[in-house]
């Protein structure tokens, strides 16, 4: 088991390294994108550009530049090309908002996803099932950014039901904190609620055919007991794994939602850096996001290996 864990962790590091090289390459392949010009600002004189090129090392070989940048990221010294500010500090500033957004949305989607999925499965084929299925499939089909724009325009601007802008820290006022985040939470959660409820429903319907359920029924347990104690519990396992993976990928959704709702989190910073073609923050944020994805992937792998010895054997046969 120990060796397995070590191997997976090593794999994690290798993937992160590959990700960093990939991102670095993408941005250095852009023709006519000169970071010295970016730093120098609009309409800068050639002497200034030359001075910056030399000082920041843009005339050095690409591998050397790569190493310098990675070194700076891990020592907390990396500077943005566009704003000349410290990237790591800005990322740390954005963490409370992004985490509030992601965790809140996750709680919401898990709760409603499981609830709707359970109800759908228990009343499979009936009206409630059909309605919830429609809701779920619609949820999967909505463009997140469009939903955010519509909710913002009608519920916040026109009807003034929700506050616009500004983030209230949890430590300052939990109620206000939640009130300001309701719309962003709903926007992010909608897609996942749809998806998870259908997965749960499907798993539960499969599980109902299984032997252990028949055995439980034969023992005389009430239907309700059978459903919750046995079927639901076993169907939740893949849900939990999915959750682990999706949570890591939330950063993508945050990029769009934060901008529209004026949350100054990491997603917003990622968006700004992208449109500025600003490599240092893009690199730092991508690694940050990739780290979580890979971490959750690895944890899930390890958990599975622990629970299911066949997986480990299967691995070594490869």
């Amino acid at each position: 088991m120990g060796r397995f864990i070590v191997r997976r962790l090593a794999g994690m590091v290798a993937v992160l390294f590959a990700v960093s090289v990939l991102v670095f390459t993408i941005f250095n392949v852009i023709p006519n994108n000169d970071p010295a010009r970016q730093l120098a600002g609009r309409s800068a004189k050639p002497q200034l550009i030359a001075s910056i090129t030399e000082e920041w090392g843009f005339d050095e070989s690409l591998p050397k530049q790569y190493l310098t940048m990675m070194g700076n990221i891990f020592t907390g010294k990396v500077i943005s090309y566009e704003t000349r500010e410290n990237v790591d500090e800005r990322i740390v500033e954005g963490i409370p908002e992004t985490f509030s957004l992601c965790i809140g949305a996750a709680v919401l989607w898990m709760f409603f996803g499981v609830l709707f999925g359970y109800l759908s499965a228990v009343r499979a084929g009936g009206l409630l099932d059909r309605v919830l299925t429609v809701v779920a499939v619609t949820g999967i089909s909505i463009p997140v950014f469009w939903l955010a724009a519509i909710l913002l325009n009608y519920l916040t601007y026109k009807l003034e039901l929700f506050p616009s802008g500004d983030y209230v820290p949890f430590t300052e006022n939990p109620i206000d904190w939640a009130y300001h985040l309701v719309l962003p939470w709903v926007t992010l959660a909608v897609v996942y609620v749809g998806f998870y409820s259908r997965v749960l429903r499907s798993n539960m319907l499969d599980a109902i055919d299984e032997d252990y359920v028949r055995a439980a029924r034969a023992k005389g347990l009430s239907e309700r007991r059978v459903m919750t104690r046995h079927v639901l519990r076993n169907s939740l396992v893949p849900i939990v794994t999915l959750f682990g993976l999706d949570f890591g990928a939330l950063l993508g959704g945050a990029i769009v939602v934060e901008g529209i709702f004026s949350l100054n989190g990491i997603g917003q910073y990622a968006y700004e850096s992208l449109i500025n073609l600003d490599l240092p923050p893009i690199m730092a944020i991508t690694l940050f996001g990739a780290f979580f994805i890979v971490l959750f992937n690895t944890l899930v792998d390890i958990a599975y290996a622990y629970l299911d010895p066949r997986v480990k054997l299967g691995e070594s046969a490869q």
Binding site: N32, N33, D34, R37, Q38, L39, A40, G41, R42, S43, A44, K45, P46, Q47, L48, S51, I52, E55, I79, E82, T83, R84, E85, N86, E89, R90, E93, G94, L152, T156, Y157, E160, P163, S164, G165, D166, G259, I260, F261, S262, N264, Q268, Y269, E272, I275, N276, L277, D278
Partner: protein, 537 residues
Amino acid sequence: MRKLHTALAVLGLVAAVLVLSSCGGSGGKEGGTLSGSYASFPELDPTIAFSVEGWTAMYGTYLPLLTYKHANGDEGAEVVPALAESLPKISPDGKTYALTLRKGLKYSDGASVKASDFTASIERVFKLNSYGSSFYTDIVGAEKFAETKSGGIPGIKTDDKTGKITIELVKPRGTFTNELALLYATVLPAGTPAKNLTDDPPPATGPYEIVNVEPGRGWTYKRNPQWAKSNAAEIPEVPSGHVDEIDISVIRNQATQVNEIERNKTNWMQTVVPADLYNKVKDRYVGTQFRVEYPINVYFFWLNMSRAPFDDLKVREAVNYAVDPKALERIYSGTLAAGHQILPKGVPGHESFDLYPHNMAKAKALIAEAHPSDREITVWTDNESPNDDAGAYYASVLEELGFDVKLKTISADVYFQLISNPSTSNLDTGWADWFADYPHPNDFIEPNFSGNNIGSTNLSHMDVPKLTEKIESLGEEQLGPQQEDEYASLDREIMAQAPWVPYGTIIVSTFVSKEVDLDEVVFNLLLGQDLTSFQLK
């Protein structure tokens, strides 16, 4: 009798009190906290900041030797003394500037302001490779310092005991007084580190100081205690400010910024009201919470004179006749003050004229005459609304003239570096804007039309040696009525060559919540709203 005397005395006293209290200003209250919003987080290091957002943030905090007058309209273009006693004494040959630092000035951390701090501050401009470096390279020894970053700048001589500062230039520079008033030349303590201090700004000399910065999120001002104690009495040209505290937060969504002001959650937004809300806000709040402002800028389409088909004067003239200012006014939702000359209103030397009034038929006739063989052109524009629409409109006009147009829309933050990069291919024509570094006609003409700036700011690649020479020599002269006339005629001469299709000036706005006294707000045409002028009702 006594009782009448007493009564009259009391009446007189009451009257006196009433008169005196009403003389104290508009009657708005002093103190309180102003909350503001920005749509993006600017640089808060005066030596580096090159955007209006940064300048507005620091106008009331950091003082150079000179500053721009805290006044509305054209008056704001006047340079007045700040940390220096008076405007510089300039030698007859235009190469020596003499100033004296006022006595007893202190930074917000209590340290005294010394004359040698000025030299260190200019050195910091070069050490940080600031955009402002190009304004001070004419100082003797500066160019060498810019390259080596060592050895000091021999052209600046200071005496800490007398406060005298003498600056020697390599050649006369007519714009230097203006450049000394820019925030790049802010006087900071000599030991200030040569790195971006946005997260922890350096000590202030003005009425406010920045006390807390949350990068990306916002920052806070409080009154600078040293201002009232030491500096205010010495510097009458800079007002002391009314509110005690200013809280700025970054709200990226501009529609949300407007919404917050309407709901009185925020008092002021630095950003312009976005186009689709502009008319609604203007109609509802003009005069009470909304005011139109006229900064100095010019919006235009540049034509690359160094390649076909725009190397032909007739083609360039035709394009100028073909563009319709009425269409552009709509595209800018009324925030454009149309104009067809280079120097905008507010800049000395400005004269309104139109060499090419809109006439599509004439434009097409000129094209037929010129009969350009190369009809394939690439039109460039940035993706910020409504500039992208302006670019798309321009492309459709060129298509109507018979060209085969390819429109390239580039992200706003990399647009300018792309189109000024000589190695970018197919730079035929495109959209651009020019915001002045300072209110001087030379700042509009020299960077854009001098042959020395091809490959950086001269987007149309204009290279007419006679004109270049005239621009450079006029730039050495101090600005007076004669020079203003010469700049006006230079504007015409350049437009006769039609390197650009200028289409007007973007007007901005001041939008405040109902708690703020709109009439007291001062908007400087270069630096934006003056934070020291905000007063709560």
